[in-house]
């Protein structure tokens, strides 16, 4: 029976899918994937409608395929992906939770899906009411007086928030120069601050991974516009001194911006507004379950404290005495519009559906079980993997590869090897303050047995590292493709198909 384990035999099935050609390579003359109704108006000579110079020739090299070809192609492509519906997807900082299907159903209601963004307000009262309710709900969750729903992602929310801070400070005559950002922060924080017109000053974390009050105090000069901080931070550690931080900043006329990417860990348990936070964005595609879609779309509403309300993007959605709703553009100090139309409306629909499904008890339970699950993994793996920061963590836990590097097995290898065990790897090499970080966020969705299977796999990999390190170093072995030559991709970039 030796024959049957030979790789060329064992991989036929996988290869069939893995060898799926590009849709362009499936093209064949005469095939067709669509039909339109026959043109039902008298056809006029093209030249009478549009001068030839403004027209194009045929779209060269565009595809000719049937609907069957398209169905096959994308079905096969889909099979090359792992997904939340199939198992744990513990990307730290990404809150890969269960995406309820009722949200998808509601978003597809024709009255929502086919409403047009430039309709008269009286024609879209349902939409405006929905947005209004979502703002009310987020206000309560944030403990802040107003929320803008326009930003379509976390980073977009960050830019919105910092632009408001800038405008508010500019109004006092001095927009200031710096935004303080801890070294544990996500890359979008400095990038957004820069796009908002600020320079970045990085704050060093202490041994708990958090920011010392003294560090902050020393850094907050008259030139500092705001501190941009993630709570809990990217190690999952809560900044217990958050209120004192706010006081320090406020005393100097600076603002406290909270990156709310980790809201899942304390939603319904504590409120940013009660911590002295002035601005916070929430990634609805994280805490509020809108599906990640292979990289988006998301939404990044921003809540603000009273002093920043005048600077919110326009329009805001308001309710009249008579119960009707309207868009209010009368905010002279507004930073302006962050995007055409009303943001990612149909992502917002999904998020509100989710908030209603959870209710106050459910939101609280999210945080409780998310934190329980993360701490369970922490407890099960802490003897096997190095825990660089020992402070109690909430919804995620960050290990490092320190115990494995002596065998020349690194975080990347561990991540790849996890794939052979059927798991998507955690976030790796982030936060930057941990060398070889493995950042694990299970979310509240995961059942105990899935967490156990994951921990068992991690422990097995640690054992393999001792006994057969090459096996781990050369992983993955069972995926549709194996380790890629990423350097080659960057050195000689091929960024599109071209006809041979």
């Amino acid at each position: 029976m030796t024959a049957i384990t030979e790789p060329e035999v064992a991989q036929h099935a996988a290869q069939k899918s893995a060898m799926e050609p590009l849709i362009f390579e499936r093209s064949k003359k005469g095939r067709r994937g669509y039909q339109l109704p026959d043109l039902d108006v008298p056809e006029q000579p093209l030249d009478d409608l549009l001068p030839a110079a403004l027209r194009r020739e045929e779209i060269q090299d565009e595809v000719e395929v049937s609907e069957v070809d398209v169905m096959r192609h994308f079905t096969r492509l889909s099979k090359l992906n792992v997904s939340i519906d199939a198992g744990l997807y513990p990307l730290g900082s990404c809150t890969m939770k269960h995406n309820p299907r009722i949200n998808e159903e509601i978003a597809r209601t024709p009255g929502f899906a086919w409403s047009h963004p430039l309709q008269a307000e009286h024609q879209v009262q349902g939409n405006l009411e929905l947005l209004w309710h979502l703002e009310q709900t987020l206000k309560e969750i944030f403990g802040l007086p107003r929320v803008t729903l326009q930003p379509v992602a976390g980073a977009h929310g960050e830019l919105t928030g910092i632009l408001m801070v800038h405008k508010a400070l500019a109004k006092t005559g001095n927009a200031r120069k710096y935004i303080l950002i801890p070294d544990s922060a996500h890359g979008t924080n400095p990038a957004s601050a820069a796009f908002a017109g600020y320079q970045i000053k990085e704050l060093k974390s202490n041994s708990r991974g958090t920011v010392d009050l003294s560090t902050l105090e020393a850094a907050v000069t008259e030139d500092v516009a705001a501190l941009m901080i993630t709570v809990p931070n990217t190690l999952g550690v809560f900044e217990s001194e958050i209120k004192a931080m706010a006081d320090i900043l406020h005393a100097k006329g600076a603002y406290l911006y909270c990156d709310g990417a980790n809201l899942n860990s304390f939603v319904g348990i504590a409120r940013p507004g009660d911590m002295g936070i002035d601005v916070i964005h929430s990634n609805l595609h994280k805490t509020f379950s809108t599906p990640h879609g292979g990289g988006g779309p998301g939404a990044g509403p921003v809540g603000v404290s009273e002093s920043l309300v005048p600077f919110l993007p326009t329009p805001t959605i308001e309710r009249r005495e008579d119960g009707t709703f309207y868009c209010d553009f009368s905010h002279p100090d507004s930073i302006g519009r962050m995007r055409a139309f009303h943001g990612n409306f149909n992502v917002l629909v999904r998020a509100l559906t989710y908030m209603r499904s959870m209710g106050p008890t459910g939101l609280r339970r999210i945080a409780q079980i998310a934190v329980l699950n993360a701490n369970y993994i922490r407890a099960r793996l802490r003897k096997t993997y190095h825990l660089p920061y020992d402070a109690p963590s909430l919804h995620e836990v960050v290990f490092s590869d320190k115990l494995q590097t002596p065998k020349d097995v690194h975080t990347l290898d561990i991540a790849k090897r996890l794939m052979d065990y059927g798991f998507h790897p955690p976030t790796i090499y982030f936060p930057l303050i941990v060398s070889g970080a493995l950042m694990i966020e299970p979310t509240e969705s995961e059942p105990k047995e899935e967490l156990d299977a994951f921990c068992d796999a991690m422990i097995a990999i640690a054992r393999e590292t001792e006994e057969r390190p090459e096996l781990v170093r050369s992983a993955p072995h069972t995926t549709p493709v194996r380790r890629l030559d990423e350097a080659r991709a960057a050195r000689q970039p091929i960024l599109r198909w071209t006809k041979k």
């Binding site: 339109l36 045929e58 994308f74 963004p117 992602a153 990640h292 879609g293 209603r356 194996r482 960057a490």
Partner: protein
């Protein structure tokens, strides 16, 4: 906290959260604490909530369906009206297989393909999407997506600015979608840049004389075609007047690329736009998909994600996120953009649409839009007191002028179950009687004829 529910009680169980009573007790034992509350000890009591949030719920699906469908029923939409609305969001045909494929968990619930070995589906689709963008625009390198058309224009302006450090002026055609211009204004407010708007001539096209006057010291020029008035711009003429500037073409009606000259073959360096017209429902403005395609030379300045081809250790062709040193997670404060999460699922839908329609279909959609709009225009020209104020060539959208306020006329049409247009006065002073009308392959001749009749009746009515 005594009023708060006990998480181990079975009445606390929630359908979206697997672990319940029995699990929780087992897990707490492993962790070595006696209650979940202990795990939150690092949050000071002072900032902890003493009770529950004051929000509705938890609702069953039954209750959610009732409430949300009730809201949706209060909208008047293309679903139950004949719609002639455009202005950057168009009702086109959506092939049935697309939405059902999007619901596949492997597409819907995966995230950014950081780990290529288990994400080839997403990666290969993005690579294909990038290719479609290149073929359609005549440019060389497309990214994986941006938020939407308006923010794509912002990114294009910032990209152009990076190319020519020193110059601070960007020329924008006033006939670019007003929301896009507003968004650019917001984005650049602290960056020391100046926007100069150039208006349109009598035919609705960019005023070339004004353009020439505005280009001095500018680093870039952006025009939209068809522009917000529906008029198709003359790329070659604009190129002639903008020597030395980075030229940005903006596409707000993506299906127009099926019949209109591709900007990349007419002197433009960057093409940005909104992909919604590729079969994405209007859904009140989002989620849509912004695209950006640039000349080869600009690729390392590209914002957002890029997927490239490579091979695996066995030499098998594969796809991977590449040129990441441009991006925020590596370059942080010096990245080409702050974008992280983008509009991947909508880009996937666009890839499916473009593949299904293909070479023939993209052209046919364009031609049907063109012909149907022409048919409506011809009919409207027959009606006395209706004016089509801009004489320039159009694709599927144009401005209609009557002697009466646009809102009044449109309200009359609404009574006939017609969403008849978008008042132009909202966007431009002095256009109170004008409105934008769009026609797509979904508008039947019968609808168009009814539109003409209703509009004609509305004008007669107002005249009385």
């Amino acid at each position: 906290m005594t009023n708060l529910p006990d998480p181990t009680d079975s009445s606390s169980s929630h359908r979206y959260i697997s672990n319940a009573g029995e699990d929780i007790r087992e897990m707490l034992a492993t962790i070595g604490v006696d209650s979940i509350d202990r795990l939150f000890d690092t949050i000071p009591d002072a900032v902890k909530l003493k009770g529950l949030l004051d929000i509705p719920g938890p609702w069953s699906e039954i209750e959610s369906r009732r409430w949300f469908r009730g809201l949706a029923a209060r909208n008047k939409t293309t679903a139950d009206h004949a719609s002639f609305l455009g202005g950057g969001a168009y009702a086109h045909y959506q092939p049935a297989i697309i939405d059902q494929l999007l619901l596949r968990a492997e597409f819907l619930t995966a995230y950014t393909p950081y780990q290529p070995e288990v994400s080839q589906g997403t990666l290969q689709s993005i690579f294909e999407y990038q290719t479609h963008q290149c073929l359609l625009t005549g440019l060389d390198v497309a990214n994986a997506s941006l938020y939407d058309g308006s923010t794509a224009l912002c990114e294009a302006v910032l990209l152009a600015e990076r190319l020519t450090k020193g110059k601070k002026k960007v020329v924008l055609a006033k006939s670019i979608h007003p929301h896009y211009i507003d968004t650019v204004r917001t984005y650049i407010q602290n960056l020391g840049l100046e926007i100069v708007e150039v208006g349109w001539g009598a035919d609705g096209r960019l005023d070339l004389d004004a353009l020439r006057a505005a280009t001095a010291d500018a680093f870039a020029i952006a025009v939209q075609s068809p522009n917000f008035l529906g008029v198709v711009e003359d790329y070659d003429a604009i190129v002639g007047a903008t020597e030395g500037l980075t030229r940005i073409s903006v596409i707000a009606e993506a299906t127009s690329l099926g019949v209109l000259a591709p900007p990349g073959q007419h002197g433009f360096d960057i093409c940005v736009g909104e992909g919604q017209a590729w079969g994405i429902p209007p859904q009140f403005g989002g989620p849509y998909v912004g695209f950006m395609v640039v000349r080869e030379a600009l690729k390392r300045h590209m914002p957002g994600r890029l997927v490239g081809e490579t091979v695996d250790v066995d030499g098998k062709r594969a796809y991977v996120l590449t040129l990441a040193t441009r991006e925020q997670h590596i370059r942080r404060g010096k990245a080409t953009s702050n974008i992280c999460t983008n509009q991947a699922l909508i880009a996937l839908a666009a890839n499916m649409y473009l593949s299904l329609l293909g070479k023939e279909g993209l052209r046919e959609v364009g031609l049907q839009c063109l012909q149907k709009a022409a048919y409506l225009r011809a009919k409207l020209r027959e009606i006395q007191s209706i004016e089509l104020p801009f004489a320039g060539p159009v694709y599927n959208e144009f401005v209609v002028r009557t002697p009466f306020p646009a809102e009044t006329i449109l309200a009359d049409l609404e009574h006939e179950k017609i969403l008849g247009g978008i008042p132009l006065g909202t966007f431009y002073d002095g256009h109170a009687n004008d409105f934008l009308v769009a026609v797509t392959e979904l508008n039947t001749r019968e609808q168009i004829d009814q539109y003409v009749a209703a509009l004609s009746a509305a004008i007669s009515r107002e005249r009385r």
